[in-house]
Symmetry: C3
């Protein structure tokens, strides 16, 4: 790609990931789904071990995320992107991240505060750049339990 | 606009908002004022209800912000911009944000920690891109009160 | 420089600083060293007073940083860059930052949470843009001491 096309692609991927965060925290699940390719993969090896099967498909990914954080007040922020355009239609990216969640009253954990990095693959589709694969590695996660009644 | 002009405009608006945050937290009130258009509007509907009148004008905006946070140790960070260039001289933007304030000793609240999104309009003036309208919506605000003496 | 070259330089400096943060927090000390020029200067005036001598050279900077935070779980995030390209091969930048460190068990301080700004100079070398000088000023640092045994 020529340099201007590359800069435009990087800018669009930055805004794609911004929609990922904004839709996640405002619980806009249609908008959240639209950031993923139809066949996107959510790599679960960090949460569930190296042999874990990825979650495959926009629908199942949205369903999983919605089930986990849909009732929480969540704040997810991304920082310091490192986007590499690999071809006209493929790219990779790393983002530092921080997330803070306050869970529903029924949860024994009151809040979670985590830090880590997203490792992602992107693909340009007729709808623009979308996330094709996502893995979240963690530097640290702090959990605050509720006092027992 | 051609793509390069659009990328330059986005870059300038990113740096404009960086000055907003840096001048606010270092209490550089002249620099802070310079990020707004002379006729800028601060939408207060989130703080004061849907019928609240906006604060109008660079001077009144700086005066209000300075009165509220001038004596606090403040940290405001912006994240994940979504800038849309609408014409040669107008643009909109959304920014995720987090703010942490430690209030003066005389305040019954010791500290505030908030999260939300700025929704903004920008206008290109002879001094460059400036903020023409600003609304801050909140995901969550935590307040820590001082222990009673 | 023409506008496209300037945008490419700004983008590369953004990714340079992203590597600084990622390598620091994942303890990739070779990668961390590679973000600095061979003759880089770490300005210590904020930590050690206005007459403090800077730490000079990639090796000594890495050694110092590694000694201080190598055993801590660290999270460093950069925000809101203000990069100014000064010539084909030199630039300056300001970044807002936040750092959170959990220290080794032997340390009487359990954790540190700080906020401030990096003030930097960059130089383009045969290896690309690198950090040539760095100063970190602080808005605030909170320390949590361990309870006495």
């Amino acid at each position: 790609m020529d340099p201007v096309e590359e800069l435009l692609a990087i800018d669009e991927i930055h805004r794609l990931k911004a929609r990922y965060f904004r839709c996640l925290d405002t619980k806009d699940w249609d908008g959240f789904g639209a950031v993923f390719t139809e066949d996107a993969q959510l790599d679960m090896s960090e949460e569930a071990g190296p042999d874990a099967t990825p979650v495959v498909g926009r629908g199942p990914i949205v369903e999983l995320v919605r089930r986990v954080v849909g009732d929480a007040v969540s704040v997810h922020h991304g920082h310091m992107p490192e986007i590499k355009i690999e071809s006209h239609d493929t790219a990779t990216g790393i983002w530092a991240m921080e997330d803070q969640l306050v869970w529903a009253e029924s949860d024994p954990v009151r809040s979670t505060h985590g830090y880590g990095h997203y490792h992602e693959r992107y693909r340009r589709t007729p709808e623009g750049w979308q996330i094709a694969r996502m893995l979240l590695t963690r530097l640290r996660v702090d959990r605050e339990r509720r006092p027992r009644a």
